[in-house]
Assembly symmetry: C2
Homo-oligomer: 436 residues x 2
Amino acid sequence: MQNADLLVFPRWIVPVEPAGTVLEDHALVVHNGRIADLLPAEFARQSWRAGETLNFPRHAVMPGLVNAHTHAAMSLLRGLADDLPLMEWLQNHIWPVESAHVNRAFCEDGVRLACAEFIRGGVTCFNDMYFFPDATADVALETGLRAGVGLIVLDFPTVWAQPGEYLHKGLELHDRIKGEPLLRTVFAPHAPYTVSDGPLKDVRKYADELGIPVHMHVHETADEVDTSVRIHGQRPWQRLKQLGLVGPNLIAVHMTQLTDAEIADGAENGVSVVHCPESNLKLASGFCPVGKLLAAGVNVALGTDGAASNNDLDLLGEMRTAALLAKGIAQDARAVPAAQALHMATLAGAKALGLEAETGSLKKGKSADFIAVDLSDLNTQPLYNVLSQLVYAGASRQVTEVFVAGRALLRNRKFTTLDEETIIAKAAEWRLRIKP
Amino acid sequence: MQNADLLVFPRWIVPVEPAGTVLEDHALVVHNGRIADLLPAEFARQSWRAGETLNFPRHAVMPGLVNAHTHAAMSLLRGLADDLPLMEWLQNHIWPVESAHVNRAFCEDGVRLACAEFIRGGVTCFNDMYFFPDATADVALETGLRAGVGLIVLDFPTVWAQPGEYLHKGLELHDRIKGEPLLRTVFAPHAPYTVSDGPLKDVRKYADELGIPVHMHVHETADEVDTSVRIHGQRPWQRLKQLGLVGPNLIAVHMTQLTDAEIADGAENGVSVVHCPESNLKLASGFCPVGKLLAAGVNVALGTDGAASNNDLDLLGEMRTAALLAKGIAQDARAVPAAQALHMATLAGAKALGLEAETGSLKKGKSADFIAVDLSDLNTQPLYNVLSQLVYAGASRQVTEVFVAGRALLRNRKFTTLDEETIIAKAAEWRLRIKP
């Protein structure tokens, strides 16, 4: 008998690797924050002794979801302005409010609200881009979530930094948090149209030196591409290529405007794409050709984007939208079947962050980042197919347990690291301050 | 002081008419199953005395949702087969299982499961099309929901009827239930490709005579249209026109393939369209041009379709998908703003059924069909705009109360007319019988 911290016996285990697998009568063994084993329940009872045993007779246990593109603090701007196109929404609503109100306290409270929604919806890792990434890092640590902390870079002055200061402040933060096992710093130059060549070259240099990914909005709208052609004489993708940014550490978000050559190029260079279907729909930004990207072999992850353009942070719902929309756009009901959608929402996100050896699937040796989803609800009955119920019928309220590195963040739908009442009270305070 | 049965004091009231209205500090007065008044809370306290008073300090009260296209009993086939195109899915999976297993008991149990999901998700009226509509009618009465009971018509023999029997059995059922205030019979010829001219002419004749609507799948896929052109030398729409079915009592479902002339024609003839975005996406059937239909003045309602092709029966989620998808398809973020999406999910459905004087909005004299949605959850905080939160961030779990004709069907998230455990146990039994 070996000792473990925790033995989990769910009705089903969906390890995500190999794709499409559903295990019954299996157990997950957790020790020192890692998956010590994944084996038939009978053998687990014979070979492992644990301090704690959890039985989930109605649940599927699966890897925690990875929300690969977020602006967490913007949860406080949820529903501030809707039904507007991207540039009008940004320039007339979001940016003015950000200039007037966003500070470190705003970011702390906003990230906390977002993290609560992440945890309740089964997200165990988020990849963020926003001002005051130091606040994002601190709140992520406080909540116990795994996070990509985006070192934002922009050409213009903001509440967070002056032009020229961004990279310096980012590198300072990188040095401060580099020992944290649950945090990963990520360069986050906002977009090709807001960051000029000089800082992008610096980003590439430091990203290579430090071996960290580059997270960026790319080809979000046709207008962005047209403007770049007018100003630079080339599409943003071409410009990023010339700057040396198109490579395996690029996390290109949105990518709604792509030629077949660009898709092939992305595949060849090993980039990751983050698809944010609900934000793209809401802002009418265009459709990411997910079917084509996957067929070409591109790693496609999923993100909710910020709550100001989604307006929830429900990655389970986003996975469903992604699976449905891909079929509609590809005009093929076989596009993005359930198993592939689950992969996009988990392992593909981990891979985008360079964390595929650490999280995103349930595999011996990986970090114990997992969730339990109760499938006994009306809307997931009867049950012919576990993957189908998770992707096409499941709702985030069915997530009852969330663990990151073996630590429980949600137990029986209750937060262990967050105080929901305080979070909601703070949100109400910001609401009154911003729009009295 | 006047006497009423019930006084409701919510934080907000969203009456749907006039569009975009959000009332604060108002009360809904219910008497004899009807909305006796809708007035400022202060006046309500001065002028009405009620047997029961309900305070919802965190809730929005709005009309119950109308799910305008369902196959309720198919809830028992949820997740049986996914990721397949319409005809392969129907011919190789759904139809064989239906032939082998569907009977009156299946329909009773399936409709009960669907009704539970409807009620929990804030639906107060559904418009159904399936075999054994007598079972649908009986279960609807038992649950207290308002329903359109579809008198299905097909050319071929099924578990429900032989060719030639459909209309007769339907008219018999019509005679049996015509006195029921919450039931509305609706002719339900399945589709142009499954019902020939003879029975369609009969349907038109009886629909005119009895003054009841005609509910039909129309132009669901490009293939349907192409096949009709090949066989009949005309598009289904043209054929329906010649048969006299294109008029104010037509409820045309799906309508993904439409020329501008057909859109104009639909508007001119006062037809209602039921948009089922999630089913259309999942089966890759095409995109209903919702923006264009609304601009032309067509009444566009929303439906989930059956759980076998959705796979949930969550009309709140369907409303969100409809609002988002319409923007993407129209390439205009202003398309289907929140208030319009709410109208589609409520009053437009009522109008399709000819029930706009009875339900679909909160107005003095109408039936008291209303729901309360708790907006204090994390995912609907902070709150800048009630309509935005309901459409873009709300989840069906936030529906806590459902009333139909003044009778509570859901109180504090608990069913009053249904036994959830029995419903789930029955679903599990069917699951084992169908796919042992």
